[in-house]
Symmetry: C2
Amino acid sequence: MKKALVLLSGGIDSSTTLAIAKNEGYECFALSFDYGQRHKIELLSAKKVAVALGVKEHLIISFDMKKIGGSALTSEIEVPKGEIQGIPVTYVPARNTIFLSFALAWAEVLMCPNIFIGANFVDYSGYPDCRPEYLKAFESMANLATKVAVEGKIKFKIEAPLLYLTKAEIIKKGIKLGLDYSLTWSCYDPQETMDFPKPCMKCPSCLLRQKGFNEAGLRDPLLK
Amino acid sequence: MKKALVLLSGGIDSSTTLAIAKNEGYECFALSFDYGQRHKIELLSAKKVAVALGVKEHLIISFDMKKIGGSALTSEIEVPKGEIQGIPVTYVPARNTIFLSFALAWAEVLMCPNIFIGANFVDYSGYPDCRPEYLKAFESMANLATKVAVEGKIKFKIEAPLLYLTKAEIIKKGIKLGLDYSLTWSCYDPQETMDFPKPCMKCPSCLLRQKGFNEAGLRDPLLK
């Protein structure tokens, strides 16, 4: 059975990517990161989604990006509210490069040529490490970096099936594949409540999620 | 003052690289990793070298590569003794890619264009991620991955000043720069003793170190 390693944050994009890989017949391995993110609650969603979609193994790697800082998600910089122009302060320096590097390491051990990432270039946050030219460059580097690639046993491929879809198209695709979006989490700045955390509904990630559901003509099941 | 971020394991190559960057007039930042390596003792050497060479800041990032495995340095696979043909089992999947990715993240926050790595292509261990074509590919990727590069504020450069030197040439260079090699550590498989750890003198890294000192006509100060 062909293998896929899927980066899984627990958000809409990575969860849909996992659903797509599963639907394409891959045996899926999910990789998540506890990196000091403000919205660590997303890991709970990642776990739920991984179980719901029956991944073969779900690995969570921990490290502290707060030591490096430079982002509203990993330091005291405030999460902005409303829509943003340019590359926002929620950008985490080299995050996808770090995530993909760990994915590459595990993929080499698993002998898994396909690395799936939910990067999106249409309704996206302006992050440079979500662009097609970046993903292509990572792929070239990966095939020079690793023993199994250099020995000709594997050619790594970075798969980004959502790259050219709008958020609404992503959501419609996931719904078609039976994905339950109430399991997913998007908010960068969760509000503490007595019983369970609630999305802030104001951060760029919340706004993008709402825009997606609105344009898809659907109701976000997380807001029930 | 121009800045350099130097990957520092505490071995001969990375310590010499730091001495070179310092000698070239850079304000140096050192980055080390506690990644579950068998020879974690190298971090003590990294600290000593960082202090001796007066780095501006020394950051140690922790994560557990044992979860990923696939190497004699991070799993139960035995460290080989003697010289090795081909890419050895001490190769750690995607290690330099992970290290350079964290370096890139910190370099972006520091606004530091120069990332120094002690990669060596002559008296080396056969690791694919020590080759010039790999380093070039990482550099290209880095300049597409990051906000400061995409905005034209920085062009990252991966500097590998030891790339084409033999181990003996590296050691002679370090000695000339006043580096005290008794602070450094190379052995992959340290032997526990009553008072302090001793190099095994049989693993490929010990053999390469001895070969270097022998060819340089010097005595390894660690063996006093």
